[in-house]
Amino acid sequence: MSNQRFFKKAYSHLSFRIGFIGSLIFALLALISIFWTPYDITQLDIANRFLPLSSQYLLGTDFFGRDMLSMLMSGALTSFIVAFIAVGIGLSIGVPLGLLAASYGGILEWLVLKGNDFLFAFPAIISAIIITTVFGPSAINAIIAIGIFNIPVFARVARGGALSIISHDYISAARLSGRSSFNIAFKHLLPNITSLLIVQASVQLSLGILAEAGLSYIGLGTQPPATSLGLMLKEAQSLFLLYPMLAILPGITIIAIVIFLNLLGDGLRDTLDPKLARQETLDAAS
């Protein structure tokens, strides 16, 4: 199925459409925050702190008197960026490894599989602890830690997808005509698994948003004065018993983004292959 036709078909799928539009709205709100937010969040306004929801401050203000809506927009941007780059790391390292493993086989494949198993012993939080101990806390740590976690995931998906098409005649034809395994991996296997990778990317993106929140919440990720949805929750930790909104709003934003991304992923997966959809739900759950 060509990519264009694939997305047309996906768009007729209800959960994809809801997920796509929802994610798009949040992504746009986050992007807009680069140029404009309702209030300037670098300006502290102590006189106006802890304001409730009102027509002036739609979602109220926080402990520094910063507008919560502006904070959420800007925080979502950081969360998106962290999750995006982490997916990029997983794609750019994991996919080549998975493809080469499938096309070369032998010792290379064995090494990639063993490496995968090994990386699974390092949940993002463990890598984040190591990196933070060595370099100190920062948003970049979160990116690297989540990225490391993404590598084996994409390697596995790429290898699995490649193995399912590697027995096709055109691959044998390419081999017979003298194409190298390397060439086959990137010229023939890669183009045929792009939709598979896009599906997995949407899943990892939503997991990345959740992971960023967790890491920043315990102080291993984004640091002030920057802000992220997870950092907002960390800062609310000592205040939320008195001002629940400070914790509830960022939490709901995270949940909404993650649900929309998951719906988008489910829709894509269904379109790709209804049989695969069941299989992959199991993978996504991990």
Partner: protein, 317 residues
Amino acid sequence: MVSFFLQRIFGFILTVFIASLVIFLLLDILPGNPARFILGINASEQSVNMLAEQMGLNQPIWQRFISWFLRLLVGDFGISHSQNISVFSLILERLQITLPLAIFAMVIAISIGLPIGIMAANRHGKISDSFLMMLAQTGVAIPNFWFGMLLVLLFSVTLGWLPTGGFTPWNENYLLSLKSLILPSIALALPQASILARVMRTALIDVSHADYIRTAQAKGLTKKQAIWRHGVQNAMLPVLTILGLQFAFLIAGTIIVENVFYLPGLGKLIFTAISERDLIIVRGALIVLVIGVTFIMLIIDLLYALIDPRLRLRGKQ
């Protein structure tokens, strides 16, 4: 079968060894002299050198790694210099919170998630199925620590039923200890239960379409009997895989949720150690985490082989 088991156990040991090496090396490239850090900036060059000598810091790195790893094998994790206690006993003490927390969470997740999954599968395609799956879809998206904060708001602040946080040691009053773990385990269990429900449902639906179920029905069993006698065992395979992965992540997840409830578990130990630059603790605690995660994966692999005869045969060849 035996060779399959041995192979897996060897893989486990290898993973732990390489992980130890990686953790050791990474924490070793840290800038600054640990001996200097312990003694403070006012210590004389001579005493720093002496302590460095004592700590074995002057030996080549591979020698230090080997001796550290060998001591690790017999449970000697070294002495914490910030607290002057054996790191092993420190970790054991903290595990008394972290481990029960992870186990409670797992038990709650299984006892909620699996029935919901089975219920949804039995009502496949009906409105109640969609409703349950919508709940699960939401549950997967909720950060566990945030859910913990909400639980505190509801059950501790508004209703006053349970403590907002902190921990009473087991030997003082185990009922109070249990009480302080209730909310954290529920918080940890929610996303896990949602994932389990989804996996259980998918696995059962898959199984009910399988050829052998149709064959069993053709031989006179009702569909329910056929699924119960032949299907459930097969449906449990994917569920088991997810359970293993989940338990591994639960152990890591406790570190985050402990923070919400001010529980002095493994997470607290690690973060305090990081801020006090007590690398011996960080190193030891990380190794314990990695061993825990890898060990659970090993157990799941072995259980898998016991349940699935196909895998057992493949191990033989």
